[in-house]
Symmetry: C2
Subunit: 359 residues, 2 copies
Amino acid sequence: MTQPPPNSPRQPRRGHGRPTLHDVAGLAAVTRITVSRYLNAPGQVAPETAARICAAIAAIGYVPNLQAGQLASGRSKVVAALIPSINNSIFAETIQALSEGLNNTGYELLLTCTAYDMTREEAQLRALIGWAPAALVMTGRQHSQTTLRLMLAAQLAGTPVIEIWDDRHADEAEPAFARIGFSHAEVGRAMARHLLQQGHRHLAYVHSPIPADFRAQERGDAFAAEAAAAGATLSLFRAGTGDPFDAGRESLNHLLSSQSAVTTVTAAAFSNDNLACGALLEAKRRGIDVPGALSLLGFGDFPIGRQLSPSLSTISPPRGEIGRAAAQALLAALTTNSVTQGVSLPWVLLERDSSARKI
Amino acid sequence: MTQPPPNSPRQPRRGHGRPTLHDVAGLAAVTRITVSRYLNAPGQVAPETAARICAAIAAIGYVPNLQAGQLASGRSKVVAALIPSINNSIFAETIQALSEGLNNTGYELLLTCTAYDMTREEAQLRALIGWAPAALVMTGRQHSQTTLRLMLAAQLAGTPVIEIWDDRHADEAEPAFARIGFSHAEVGRAMARHLLQQGHRHLAYVHSPIPADFRAQERGDAFAAEAAAAGATLSLFRAGTGDPFDAGRESLNHLLSSQSAVTTVTAAAFSNDNLACGALLEAKRRGIDVPGALSLLGFGDFPIGRQLSPSLSTISPPRGEIGRAAAQALLAALTTNSVTQGVSLPWVLLERDSSARKI
DNA sequence: TTGAAAGCGCTAACAG
DNA sequence: CTGTTAGCGCTTTCAA
């Protein structure tokens, strides 16, 4: 039917089927721009015209092409976010909150996972920048040189950039980007202090199985430093990969089998609650008294920790708050064009039974 | 420098700062189209020219504008996916696998959450369609009329559409879309049969707190039907919202307090493992013998279930497989332009201690 | 192997 | 309140 005439000097391209502004305009007997206005600033269109346009849109099932709109306007409605893992319940809650916060603002969340891999982070960021995002949400403050360059370029071009789940480090110059989170070093120190204050002199720390989880690493390092400063002995372990509960069990077994008579560990801290719960369950299985013979302390405040007995002492990080604050900060920066502000969010040490003071 | 001449009749618009093909072309002393070819079909560009272009790109830090490219080419590199919740570990693994499968294929995953709300699903889908996605991934087979219309329109326009985490229902005509998942009705029946085979005649089922979780509802309904068919008595509960472990505990307490002398429930099945684990922990706390006095059966194969003692019997759904199969099906459909094929994926009933046969 | 021209669907700028 | 005109940055078709 719509065959090009045989002598046509050129084959004109035609769109891929979906109805366009043009079609709506034709049906409503107005021009495209009026339809565009109806969609973006309904107030500027006469009610009667608006009704016709509305009917036309419904009739042909028109859905605006966002790519075209954003290209033409030069401003995009995409917030790009990079997180290490979607599987990790810790980030899930933050993202859920961020996503809720962006809901009904017209902004979409474009989310990708780096799998704790800086090379991948760089590639992902590059791909995301291709979407001309209105804002950038990164996780943590450690990035490759190129990643940092891309972030800086974006920020210079006026795109708000924020780093979540981290805070300014003590021996660091003023951060280049707004951070929304907390200091993992402080958490690590607090974890050590909590155990030291209960009189423990022989501590252990079980690291995350992912060395590239910089924030977890930082908590462990700070824990170690604080323990050393207090003159306590410290055994360091790294959990195995695989099921974190099993890894926690194994780490407890390693810990026990590597005990020397003089330095019997009486308190162990873990990179996360799943590891700690595994250790807790294994201790119960082996008949070890928790906290009597061994105190246990986790991180993350995962729901299961509250359920076991003894219940698991842990750090409760501001999971959801980070997402909410990020959404708020971004929207503020995007609408008022102001500078994005970082925030330090509070965390809490939940002193439950697994590290209760020995009476 | 580039001030508009004072008498210029119109203020020309200029882009928003980021370097474009044009800039690269200028630096490399070629035209834009050659740069475009270098990016999309490097083989068609002379090596010498390619080198110049490559240098230019690096020099000015050019990142292609995807929106412009997709608009011009009419084909997008976005896969849009709608899931009920990101917080739910069950979907997290599927999405992670889908995302891995799409990695390095040039396709991006645009992900949004419906929060188990059909109205929201419709709104989200509409927003996603605005991105002219190359493919659509929906969750489940129940959608609003309008959502279905949009999905059908997309499919008609040649966009592969698949529904994950579900399968063809027995009394349903040929599904309009490819489904990748399994039958929740079958799972529900299998759960009931498992308990019936162990001689239980008084069953209970604890529903998900989310009535709009159609798949969970379907498992429960099928469980109930199977129990009724076998002449067993059945107590139905719906778990409370909030911490699922707590909800599971409460449901056990309700169950026990609503016991009549004649029909003492000896086996309870749950909509998910967290609920079941809560009940398991509560049973232990109350000194109820599991499985001696009460058998417990969950769904989902969450890691914690294996760790408790008695370990939790459960259904292990093909979480990751669904994501992998979806990625594979989409890529096949996108590259070979063939029809998307649905798949039924196998699940397993893990018969662990909480429902061990009474000897 | 490279270039010229036209157009993807929409919106900014400026009239009327 | 509505229309005209000229792009957004890229890719398509055809020609050289």
